[in-house]
Subunit: 247 residues, 2 copies
Amino acid sequence: MANDKSVSNHIHCQNCGINQLCLPYTLDDSSLTKLDSIIERKRPYQRGDVLFRAGDPLISLYAVRSGCLKSYMLNDSGEMQITAFHLPGDLIGFSSIAENSYQGYTEALETSMVCEIPYDNLESLSGQLPTLRRQILRLMSDEINTDKRMLSLVTSRSAEERLATFLIELSARFRKRGLSSREFRLSMTRAEIGNYLGLTVETVSRLLGKFQKESLIKVDGRFVSLLNVDAISSIAGILPIPCQQQA
Amino acid sequence: MANDKSVSNHIHCQNCGINQLCLPYTLDDSSLTKLDSIIERKRPYQRGDVLFRAGDPLISLYAVRSGCLKSYMLNDSGEMQITAFHLPGDLIGFSSIAENSYQGYTEALETSMVCEIPYDNLESLSGQLPTLRRQILRLMSDEINTDKRMLSLVTSRSAEERLATFLIELSARFRKRGLSSREFRLSMTRAEIGNYLGLTVETVSRLLGKFQKESLIKVDGRFVSLLNVDAISSIAGILPIPCQQQA
DNA sequence: CGTGCAATTGACGTGGCTCAAGTGGTGTGG
DNA sequence: CCACACCACTTGAGCCACGTCAATTGCACG
């Protein structure tokens, strides 16, 4: 409990299985060593543990090594709005740079390992390493893109389309990480999925049931198998016959 | 029509009225001169003119000098989803860095002047100028933040709350630019507002009428006056008594 | 003066929310 | 080992905010 110093000194970016999804991508050995030297690795976070809260001064960005976390904001009425689920390789905290303080909360959904990257060190290191600088920009740009696509999803698509998109994108993220894209375990509750997609728990539950009845997926609690990826994709808006309706 | 070379050589970042909202913020004179030297300024864009299209290779970021523009994406069915309205000082194109190609469309809503900032030049210049580098990160971080707040707005707030928030935020952006925050002209149509907020034209029109009937605003075509900013803010969710409901 | 788009307004339909009840799994304490 | 509490999840019934469809008006432009 009191032990808060770095553990697992044998873990380094150099031998991290997901480094090509993370900051190290494209870095040469010497740059990688420099980056590795500023990163701190701590004990795992347990379900419900909070990495940071809105208003806390920005100290570090976080890179997910293992597990799953959620980021959320609280509005003026204290209601939670989940803005992202984080998987291994994801970087957390970009939204906090502008104000130099965290703009929301990040919390572990299950036992998770994260790397802490002191922001000031990263900032000055990026001055020396052009590839690191470019990778930071790439990752931030990517987050902007993801947010815009998410915006498009929730402003104009039906509940069914949103959930199908959620499943397909989660599946794709697992594949990128070398995990099964056809069968996986949801780290988040139905309520959290609903909150993220702008739906209620009941709607999420009903739709998962519907998808199962239509043999698109198989659901067993938190475990999901995608039985008909093409059909789910087509519901998600990657339509097979998109321009059939005509003048 | 064919004249595509830089005009208005007398315009420089140094004497630009909105430079403290834009990239130059915090730059010293010598850095400012360097930045200014890589920026190109072209003829104004007219309503409907497109700056870039999804898929075009990323050449430049754009800074708005005057006017108003919209950014949008097209989904697989070809439907437009507006992701941002841009006012003077805004930077456009951050979402395109990751893939090195534009990820959506940007189009002028009215006659607009923009500064074109060749991305490769900006990238290498940012290696020499730490303040410029930090400002880019700040602006990108800010955009991520704005998108997350927008996400929160459309996933969980009612039509009335969304429109009120839209009016309040637009008002705040005008104030920042030294314009009236109480009376302004909308550059976008009702349909564009609705598209942005995830509502239909009809709903936007009805709500503007309702707000007017309640003496919160006065509407005359594209001209809007905010008569009761506090009341609109409170509808927007900046509630006067946010924690009154208790256990 | 006619054409066309933006905006308004009304009538109507419905997707997804709300409320409510019930089930199942899991951890805890007796 | 069981009893109980708690939480995640499911399922049904009813309702309402907002979308859809349609008609009308107003304004700008050629």
